[in-house]
Symmetry: C2
Subunit: 301 residues, 2 copies
């Protein structure tokens, strides 16, 4: 373990992921816990969650630096880190890092305020990581980070020039659990996936029409037995992801990359194919690479 150089923390709303990085930024160890920012309140709880997950790493490597990104830096987090305005790159982000103490810093978020303001926390670091791992994206690309609040970020000349959030994942969860559409569906998690139903939802979104209207078809297709109850969640997912893609493809003529959970990214890739898009680059969580790159930019390592 002597070569450990940085503890990288991807600290989102629902999960804390820790990566022990070696002398070249390689991941030596990975750990995670459910101590997300949404479950913690006050500095003591954050410090406790951190000690519980990586206390031994810190003891084994006295003085090792910790660098965190994500909702840990929100106004409800450990302490509020600023938002850096677009266009921005790794240098701009590292210049506004929040130093919590001698050993722990938090990466700022990004704001795009060209129209209605839009914000991200955590994804800016994943984007920096994606560009570090794939420099060919830096010139002109669209980076898509699916999730509860999916982000579509434009990258030009190495900088994030703008981005848009889509509440796709949150809408899915709300409609799946609390809406009239849930009534005809089996209990959460009990249904096998239906790629056909998913693509049928994507195709409906491609044809156009208001989302609030098309959602009602989840009910009627079930009511008239054109879809089985266990297919309805996938149809709903296809509709929502399809609407997200339809509204973003106008802007995205650049090369596309998908970053995040492989199963979710695979869904987006399937949907993009339905929109006659070339196969996107698929990247797993690039937060460790981003934190490494930012630590270099800050001369932390």
């Amino acid at each position: 373990m002597s070569q450990a150089r940085l503890i990288a923390l991807d600290w989102g709303s629902t999960r804390l992921r820790a990566f022990l990085l070696g002398a070249s930024g390689e991941v030596l160890q990975t750990r995670q816990s459910d101590d997300g920012a949404a479950t913690l309140k006050g500095a003591a709880q954050y410090a406790g969650a951190l000690a519980a997950l990586v206390g031994d790493w810190r003891a084994d490597h006295p003085g090792i630096q910790l660098l965190a990104c994500g909702m840990v830096g929100s106004q409800y987090g450990w302490r509020e880190a600023p938002y850096v305005r677009c266009p921005a790159d790794a240098v701009a982000l590292s210049a506004q890092v929040l130093k919590l103490d001698e050993c722990l810093s938090i990466i700022p978020g990004l704001v795009d305020d060209t129209a209605q303001p839009d914000v991200m926390r955590g994804e800016e670091t994943q984007i920096v990581g994606a560009l570090a791992l794939h420099p060919e994206l830096a010139d002109d690309a669209c980076l898509v980070l699916p999730g509860t609040h999916a982000k579509w970020a434009r990258v030009e000349a190495g900088r994030v020039t703008g981005f848009a959030t889509h509440m796709t994942g949150e809408l899915f969860a709300l409609l799946r659990q609390h809406s009239v559409l849930a009534r005809l569906m089996p209990a959460d998690g009990s249904s096998p996936p239906s790629p056909e139903a998913f693509l049928r939802g994507v195709d409906a979104a491609r044809e156009g029409g208001g989302l609030a209207h098309q959602l009602f078809a989840v009910r009627t297709l079930g009511l008239f037995k054109q879809l089985a109850p266990e297919q309805l969640p996938d149809y709903l997912s296809g509709l929502l992801i399809g609407h997200e893609i339809a509204s973003e493809l106008n802007n995205a003529t650049q090369r596309l990359a998908l970053i995040g959970d492989p199963a979710l990214c695979a869904r987006y890739a399937q949907a993009l194919a339905r929109f006659d898009q070339p196969a996107p680059l698929l990247l797993d969580n690039t937060a460790p690479a981003g934190l490494w790159r930012l630590a270099q930019s800050m001369s932390l390592i």
Copy 2:
């Protein structure tokens, strides 16, 4: 009370409204209870709710007919009434009435299955009522019934030729209560209305962009204090109603009429003005007039 001729029941998911109608269909008395179809299960409960609300009317007028519309006829209702296919008029609806017993009948719903199937229960009767009260709408009009599941119905040559449901009201309630957008808002019902915020939401919808994206601005406009917490619900309402209107105006070059709760219809009228539409006709609940017209068509009266 000797002139009472029909008990008209507008029996939706959340409320039972009863109207005692006179010899010309005029409303003699009105009552309502919270015994909506969503709260009742099984014939005994329905019969009990009915007896509690209008038992004395029936005793005072032995043999009086009762005619009901709405979710009372759904598959989770008292008994399932059929769906009549579009195009349909009062005659087509009355031909498929469900006779529950010698005194009580339920109006069927409507289905538009030209594309994804769409359904209504209760609104078909309000449409019949609107056309009875305003025959000038029968030739060519678009009838809009705002609500939990708003309906946009096209009427040509006296028949409903097609319609679309928008889950606008349900999305508002879900997002207002359960989403990340609710966090910055004051507790439900405590905020004074903000017409400015409502129209700002409508204007954002007019400018276009995906709904799932634009919704996130409810959070960021609060976060950056461009809207006060108590304005956020109205902005959300404007966004959702604006998106509904934007997606329907393509189809609706006809005369527009708004039917239902006056306060909600007034919001739609304000939003329509923002889309440069002429002032729509505003109608309060037309279910009693519709049930009277259908009772005539069935020769019940």
